[in-house]
Symmetry: C2
Subunit: 191 residues, 2 copies
DNA sequence: ACATACGGAATGAACGTTCATTCCTTTTAT
DNA sequence: ATAAAAGGAATGAACGTTCATTCCGTATGT
C-alpha cells in the first residue's frame, strides 16, 4: 500500500467510525484497525486526533461545495437559486449519509461551535454563497426582513432535521418530498 | 444538608455541567465536586451515570410541558394554537438556557436517538399535543399535506436553531423577533 | 439527664478499564 | 548499507464505579 493510500484509508476509516459512533466512540486504535494500519502510523500523517478531526471537516466541505454549486446560475431569480441550493444540499446529505452524520457530530462538538463563531463574526468573506443570496433577497424585498442568522435557521433548520430523520429511517424522502420540503422552507423565509 | 437537598444538588450540578460541557465533559467526580458531595454519594441516589442522565431528561420534560401548556386553549383555531405553543417553547428555551442546552446534548446522544425512535414508532399515545395539532391541521386542510415527521422538522428545526443561536450569542431575540420567527415557521407548514 | 450502642448516609481513596499518544523495534525502499 | 516508514506494545492520564471506613442523628439503657 502506498503512502497516500494509507493516509486515505485512515481518513475513510475515521470518517466512517466517527460518523457512526461519534468522536468518543471512535478510538484511534479502532480507526487504525479499520484502516488496516498500525496505531502509530496515524501519527505520521496527523499530529493528533484533533487535527485529524479538523482535516476531515475541511475535506468534507471541499467535497460538498462543488456539488451544490454545480449548474448554479447567478442570473436566475432568487427563489430559483434558493430551490437549487436547498434541494442540492438535501440530496447530497441523503446520498452521502456518512458525510451528513459527520457534519452533525462536528457541529454538535465544541470544535463546531468555535468554527461557527469564527464564521459568523468574520463577516467579510465574499465567498459565502448563502449569505449573498439572503442579503440580495432582503434588499430586493423578496425575503422577510429578519436578521440573517434567523433566515439561516428557517432555511437550514428543517433541512438538517429532515436529513437526519431520513438517515435514521424515520421518514423516506423521494425526489417529490425533497422538493416539497425545500418549497416549504422557502415559504418560511419569503416575504 | 438533608437527604433530599443532596439529591437536588447533584441534579442541579449535573444539569449545569452537562449542559455546558456535554456528557463526556462532565465526569462524575466533577459533578460531585460542584454538588458539594462525595463522589460515592451520587451512587446512593442514581444507579449509574446513564440513569442520572435519563432522570435529568425526565425532570426537564416535567418542567417544560406545564409551562408551554399554560393558557393553551383547545378551542382556538389551529394557527393560534401553533403560535401559542411555538412562542411558549422558544420563550422557555431562552429563559432556561441550561435546560435547552441539556436537551440538545441529550438529543444528539445515542440516548436521545433511541428515545425519539421509541416515540415515533409508538404512535399510540394520545398525550402528544403537537401530533394532535398537526393531524388536525392536515385533515382540516390548513396545513400542507406532508408526512408528520417533515412538518415537525419544518416547525421545530428553526425553533431549535434560533434558540441555539440566541444562547450562543449569535443573535439577540426580543419578543418581536420571537413572534416573527414562529410566524415564519407557520408560513413553512401552512398550506 | 446522661452515656452508650446502633444503623444508615456519606465519603473519597483505590480499582480496573479505556483511551490518546509515544517509543522502540522491524520492515521496506533506495 | 542507510534512511524513512510502519507497526504495535508500552505508557500514563482520565474515567466510572466500588467499598471499607467515617460520621452523625436517633434509639436504648441506666
Amino acid at each position: 500500500m502506498s503512502k497516500l493510500d494509507k493516509r486515505d484509508e485512515v481518513v475513510k476509516a475515521a470518517l466512517e467510525l466517527i460518523a457512526e459512533h461519534g468522536f468518543h466512540g471512535a478510538p484511534m486504535a479502532m480507526i487504525a484497525n479499520r484502516a488496516g494500519v498500525g496505531a502509530g502510523t496515524i501519527y505520521r500523517y496527523f499530529e493528533n486526533k484533533e487535527v485529524l478531526i479538523a482535516e476531515l471537516y475541511r475535506d468534507l466541505e471541499e467535497r460538498l461545495f462543488p456539488v451544490i454549486l454545480e449548474k448554479y446560475d447567478q442570473e436566475k431569480p432568487i427563489r430559483e437559486k434558493f430551490m437549487h441550493l436547498g434541494t442540492a444540499l438535501l440530496r447530497y446529505f441523503i446520498e452521502n449519509p456518512l458525510d451528513f452524520r459527520y457534519l452533525e457530530q462536528f457541529h454538535n462538538s465544541p470544535f463546531g461551535v468555535e468554527h461557527r463563531r469564527d464564521k459568523i463574526l468574520g463577516e467579510k468573506e465574499g465567498c459565502d454563497i448563502f449569505r449573498d443570496l439572503f442579503e440580495d433577497g432582503i434588499s430586493q424585498q423578496v425575503l422577510k426582513e429578519l436578521p440573517l442568522v434567523i433566515l439561516f435557521a428557517l432555511a437550514f433548520g428543517p433541512i438538517l432535521a429532515v436529513a437526519r430523520d431520513h438517515i435514521l429511517g424515520f421518514v423516506t424522502l423521494d425526489e417529490g418530498l425533497i422538493i416539497a420540503t425545500i418549497e416549504a422552507c422557502w415559504d418560511g423565509i419569503r416575504r
